[in-house]
């Protein structure tokens, strides 16, 4: 019995030299396992505890703190949308408030002038912000590093000035627009901080899921390559301009939709909410937390939005501490507090033992002629032979 099994195994091996490992290897190679700190590899128990905690949080916190958590979550989603551009693609974009503004004003204008239900304006706000990003980013997409930074600051300033000067008579100038109609979902109006808490939590969850999928997709890989070495990416066939623009548009669409949520929550939109300082704040959240890391950006949002509130008594020193912290970060931990974990391919684990070259070669012979198959290296002339004028095929 055992002898027979061993015999069969030998025959199997003879047929396919790499043996079953080969298929594990190929499967792994096609669908690389995703893990690491940026993964969502929480155990079931932990996830359940987390979900329960998140769902009961408002009753524990009370209205004041719930509202603060709402703000924090809005910033977290905004920072995650900036993270696509700044974190994953490495583009120094400091004008994110402009996209956010386009979304918020779209909602405000449609709701106040045309009485459109707020929730209906959400996709439109996203679409317009995306379109706006496409128009402004296209001519500047080839700019690098600090050049891009300066131009994007310019964009947010121009948008701000346009809003203040009541452009097209639509934006209400420096006072902005007052929104009186609340978000209504199936007749349920979202008014209180607790309502908003669940609404924004849902958005945050969807955002995390979506951006997690995006970062592991072909799109996400392309952004990652561009961030690391744009020229090398371009020379291996990545259409860098296209992907950079796509990153901008995705980030802007998301920021635009958050503009709707913000407008509904705050009930007034005015230019002050979309200033250059807001852009800097978002930029800081991403840089502090860890560019390219979802968990890092969430941590960044918590630290930058919540901590100052928690240590309210130190209010006067807030900017001082903030500035010092940023300088310290740049010196000691430029990759952020929680940089993205490496996405590792685990092929090595399965293939550790098999002798690569020879096995692959024999395997190929067994499989029959392959058009791309190489001649056995032993049959080819060495350089020494070539120098002696032998072995030239042509």
């Amino acid at each position: 019995m055992i002898r027979r099994a061993a015999h069969q195994l030998r025959r199997y091996r003879a047929r396919s030299v790499l043996g079953p490992e080969r298929y594990v290897f190929l499967a792994e190679w096609r669908n690389p396992p995703r893990s690491g700190p940026s993964g969502l590899g929480l155990s079931v128990g932990l996830s359940l505890a987390l979900v329960t905690m998140l769902l009961t949080l408002p009753s524990v916190l009370g209205l004041y703190w719930t509202d603060l958590v709402n703000d924090m979550m809005i910033y977290a989603v905004l920072a995650l949308s900036l993270n696509v551009i700044l974190g994953h693609c490495g583009l120094f974009h400091m004008g994110h408030a402009a996209f956010y503004a386009v979304g918020a004003y779209t909602t405000a204008i449609l709701a106040t002038r045309f009485d459109v239900p707020i929730l209906l304006t959400l996709p439109l706000a996203g679409a317009l912000a995306g379109l706006f990003a496409l128009l402004v980013a296209r001519p500047i997409i080839h700019l690098r590093g600090d050049y891009l930074l300066v131009v994007t600051i310019g964009i947010v300033e121009i948008v701000n000035i346009a809003l203040k000067s009541n452009i097209f008579g639509l934006t209400g100038g420096a006072n902005g627009l007052l929104i009186l109609n609340p978000i209504s979902i199936f007749g349920h109006e979202i008014v209180s901080p607790v309502d908003f808490y669940y609404f924004i939590l849902l958005i945050l969850a969807v955002t995390i899921l979506l951006f997690y999928l995006a970062q592991n997709s072909r799109f996400g890989r392309a952004l990652n390559y561009i961030k690391q070495d744009e020229l090398a990416a371009e020379s291996t066939g990545v259409n860098t301009a296209h992907y950079k623009l796509a990153a901008f548009v995705l980030g802007a669409v998301w920021a635009g939709m958050l503009g709707t949520v913000f407008a509904a929550k705050i009930e007034t939109v005015s230019p002050g909410s979309f200033s250059y300082a807001q852009s800097v704040l978002l930029f800081a959240i991403v840089i502090l937390g860890g560019p390219g890391s979802i968990t890092g950006v969430l941590l960044g949002a918590f630290l930058i939005i919540s901590l100052p509130e928690i240590f309210r008594d130190l209010q006067n020193y807030r900017m001082l501490v903030f500035g010092a912290a940023m300088v310290a970060m740049m010196i000691f931990r430029p990759q952020g507090l929680m940089p993205p974990g490496r996405r590792r391919y685990k092929v090595g684990q399965f293939l550790g033992r098999f002798p690569a070259g020879a096995a692959l070669r024999r395997n190929k012979q067994l499989e029959g002629a392959d058009p791309t198959a190489l001649t056995d290296p032993a049959d080819l002339p060495s350089l020494a032979d070539l120098a002696n004028g032998e072995g030239k095929g042509r």
């Binding site: 190929l26 190679w29 096609r30 890989r221 392309a222 390559y225 690391q228 070495d229 020229l231 090398a232 990416a233 371009e234 020379s235 291996t236 066939g237 990545v238 259409n239 860098t240 490496r342 996405r343 590792r344 391919y345 685990k346 092929v347 090595g348 293939l351 690569a356 070259g357 692959l360 070669r361 190929k364 392959d370 791309t372 198959a373 190489l374 001649t375 290296p377 080819l380 002339p381 060495s382 350089l383 070539l386 120098a387 095929g393 042509r394």
Partner: protein, 236 residues
């Protein structure tokens, strides 16, 4: 018209003209080497072919396609890929991930798998180190990886920019043997080199560039025997 043809290329960086009308042609299946001193314009010539740099005038034709009007990512899809000067592997990614990037333009999974297998066969060292970070590879291994990454796109023409740079003689030999293998499978090769001796031994034909001009063009054997070439590039 030959397989790959560069006609009267002029390239400027700002006010400085780096190529003053370079013409060269490559036939299918050949190994052509471009030699020249530092700053002669070798890299510029290669990056022009791969579309990373655009000529001010002149044209590049591959089969019937005008490459000087084709975006660089499309050039890769057309079957021309480059192992860039200084290797430029992605240091924080593994060998395997770097190779995967090379197949970015390839939709056919089976083809990608075959390419991967034969690259591992060509460079067993890369297979041993496939889960190692590229930044921790030795210079020679990084060069293998840069070539492997370019091969993942299933090129018909492979552009190599100084693959021997900074490598020990034994490593140069094994890289060059690999290049010969690649060529044997039908891939046309354009090889830019400082190591003129090794390059001419490997190549069919060669061009010599001097400050942006082609000053010599001949069969590799003839260049190897040429006293002027020996004097200038082969160390007497």
């Amino acid at each position: 018209m030959s397989y790959l043809e560069l006609r009267d290329l002029r390239v400027s960086y700002g006010n400085i003209e780096a190529l003053h009308g370079v013409s060269l042609s490559v036939d299918e299946g050949e190994i052509v080497t471009i030699l020249g001193a530092n700053g002669a314009g070798k890299t510029t010539t290669l990056t022009c072919i791969s579309g990373l740099v655009r000529p001010a005038s002149g044209g590049i034709h591959y089969k019937k396609t005008a490459l000087h009007k084709t975006p660089s990512h499309k050039i890769v899809s057309l079957g021309i890929s480059q192992s860039p000067e200084g290797r430029r592997v992605f240091s924080p990614l593994t060998v395997q991930e770097n190779l995967n990037l090379g197949a970015f333009t390839v939709k056919d999974q089976a083809l990608t798998r075959r390419n991967l297998e034969w690259i591992f066969e060509l460079f067993p060292r890369l297979h041993e180190r496939r889960s190692q970070l590229a930044g921790t590879l030795s210079g020679g291994e990084q060069q293998m990886l840069a070539i492997g990454r370019a091969l993942m796109a299933s090129p018909r023409v492979l552009l190599l920019d100084e693959p021997s740079l900074g490598l020990a003689p034994i490593m140069v030999q094994s890289i060059f043997e690999a290049i010969r293998h690649i060529n044997k499978t039908g891939v046309t090769i354009v090889l830019v080199e400082q190591n003129a001796k090794a390059a001419l031994k490997l190549a069919d034909r060669g061009y010599v560039l001097e400050v942006g001009n082609v000053v010599m063009e001949n069969s590799a054997a003839a260049l190897l025997a040429d006293p002027a070439v020996q004097q200038a590039y082969l160390g007497g």
